[in-house]
């Protein structure tokens, strides 16, 4: 189709839509202005909105997120970019200790309506310090909305909700999805935070993914169908709020769940989800709760080594077949 757009373009589109609607939305980050962002995901914003809405910063991650906080607390809706999600570590105090706690610590006197956008994840040969799926760091901190879209139109729909939210949102844009294409989002497209997407219905096994792992589970579901196994596929879209109800209701139908995560097994979101299913969905289960995740290893630079560490379609299919036929 001629009018498909890339995930990358959807990011700038999603931001631009909100900036047109609300003058309090401003962007800041490194090289996001005239340069259009190092991933070109803010391309066109500087041209359309100019230097009073799009601000280039020094390499000062703490100042970026901290200043965004201060602005959010005083009437603005800042959208801060942290170039690679690994660099959230450089401002982790703000992400973990400040943003999510202000409303609570002040007894509701102060709110923090802001978005931190960041390029997340691996698969591109960027090595151990530029490839992590760090949404799991954030999952252990109450008070942060965590969004991680997998398609261009989800990017736009979730961006709208994220920017309009009165809660702080971490918005994980996946580097390995930037070049993927999809239908553009219709005008006024908004996806509520906390609503998982049942991307494919099925009856024998539930496959759950997020962001990078969605193409994997979708391809696996297709291959499973060819083998006569009917898989239901769920895209969580946000980790917080977590739409556990959609997952549990799927499991009550399929009796089997396989969670596919990009991140290392240890401390991954799949653990939290699996624990919910193994508790609240226990009596529905006909097979062990399974997770496919990356090895608990830093990611390697070499593509052929990185591939050894990350989940694959083949392993997903193989595991699902074993589960469905056990």
């Amino acid at each position: 189709m001629a009018d498909l757009i890339t995930y990358r373009e959807a990011i700038a589109d999603g931001i631009a839509r909100e900036m047109r609607l609300d003058p309090s939305v401003v962007c800041l980050g490194e090289d996001i202005g005239a340069a259009g962002g190092v991933f070109k995901s803010t391309q066109g914003l500087f041209e359309e909105f100019g230097p009073t809405r799009i601000w280039d910063t020094p390499i000062s991650e703490q100042a970026i997120v901290g200043a965004a906080m201060g602005a959010a607390m005083t009437g603005m809706r800042p959208v801060a970019e942290i170039m690679f999600s690994d660099f959230l570590a450089c401002c982790w105090d703000f992400i973990a200790n400040e943003m999510p706690k202000v409303r609570y610590m002040t007894g509701g006197q102060v709110k923090v309506p802001m978005v931190v956008r960041t390029a997340n994840g691996g698969g591109l040969g960027f090595g151990a310090q530029h490839s992590q799926a760090v949404e799991n760091w954030a999952l252990s901190v109450p008070g942060l909305v965590i969004a991680a879209p997998s398609t261009p139109s989800d990017v736009v729909g979730l961006m709208a909700s994220a920017i309009r939210s009165d809660d702080p949102v971490l918005f994980f844009e996946h580097k390995a999805l930037f070049a993927t294409k999809g239908e553009p989002a219709p005008a006024g497209h908004v996806i509520p935070l906390g609503q998982a997407n049942v991307v494919r219905t099925g009856s024998e096994i539930t496959l759950v993914g997020l962001a990078w792992s969605m193409p994997i589970v979708l391809e696996a579901a297709e291959l499973l169908a060819q083998q006569g196994i009917s898989a239901e596929v769920i895209d969580l879209r946000t980790l917080v709020p977590l739409d556990a109800a959609t997952v549990l209701s799927s499991v009550s139908k399929t009796s089997r769940i396989l969670i596919v995560e990009e991140n290392p097994f240890q401390g991954g979101w799949g653990g939290t989800l699996a624990s919910i299913v193994a508790d609240e969905g226990f009596y529905d289960l006909d097979a062990p709760v399974k997770r496919i995740a990356a090895a608990s290893v830093p990611l390697a630079f070499a593509t052929h080594l990185e591939n050894e560490l990350l989940p694959s379609v083949a392993l997903t299919v193989e595991t699902a077949v074993r589960m469905a036929t056990s």
Binding site: V65, G66, A67, M69, G70, M105, G107
Partner: protein, 331 residues
Amino acid sequence: MAGSAVASPESLSGWYEQMLVIRGTEKAAFDLFMSGLVKGTTHLAAGHEAVAVGASAALEPDDYVWATYRGHHHAMARGLSAEACLGELMSKQTGSSQGKGGSMHMTYAPGNMMGSYAIIGSHLPMAVGSAWSSVLRQSGQVSVAFFGDGATNIGAFHEAINLAAVWRLPVIFVCENNLYMEYTPISSVTAVEHPAADRAGAYSLPRIVIDGNDVVVVRDEVAKAAAKARAGEGPSIIECLTYRHYGHSRTDPAKYRPEGELEQWLMRDPVKVLREHLAAAGVGEDEIGEIEQRAQHAVLAAIEAAKAAPLSDPAEAFTDVWADGGSQWRT
């Protein structure tokens, strides 16, 4: 180092009363701790009052103020009542944050006192952000961040000031240099003599060190910086020399202080200094005595009210996490 600037007897009287209420509230907080009515930890600002009162005197009501865990004085200088302060310490429903924040997170949003942050340095970028916000909204507001000498060696300090300077933001960084971090002298861990002022040059800002125990001096210097900020001429760093009368926190007897140091600083107690200003401005002993009585009564009434108030509702534990008021994170 005494201030040469003038202030009206009325202004001086108002500041004196405010300072005494703060001092009395800090004393009450200390006593309530000792009697077990306040739990957790607390960091008292007795000795630092001139910085809070002087700075507030130079600001407009809608200017923004940001503080550290040692922030009772800043919240009160911006309008937080002694009762709400003590109520917070005592976990009462009448506390400024219903006991959810506590001593280290005093906040008074009606006075644009945006909160107290307990991780060193973290509020400095936030103050840069509220200054940026004022520029974006063209509101003319100034932002002030108060911080300790110890905060000058953490990365957020450097990032905040550089960004403020580059964007020429209306923000004033006010250092309360009380010579110590927790138990360690700042001089033993800092590569310059004046931890804040001697870093100003690294951001093309002037070096300013003032007497932080004289409310008039503080008022004047902050007023200058605020005028500069409102004129679009960017940030300032002001290092105020002061001293804390209590130890670092509730549990600290401050044995690390050299003998006689406290006594020497008590001779420059900001309350004493201001009382002298009052006398010099012709305010009589009677009038001063009346102010003192008023302040004392206000504090006593606040203590009684805070004691009498109910503990906050246990359900408060689950409110104010999310924008909908609740704490639901999953379906």
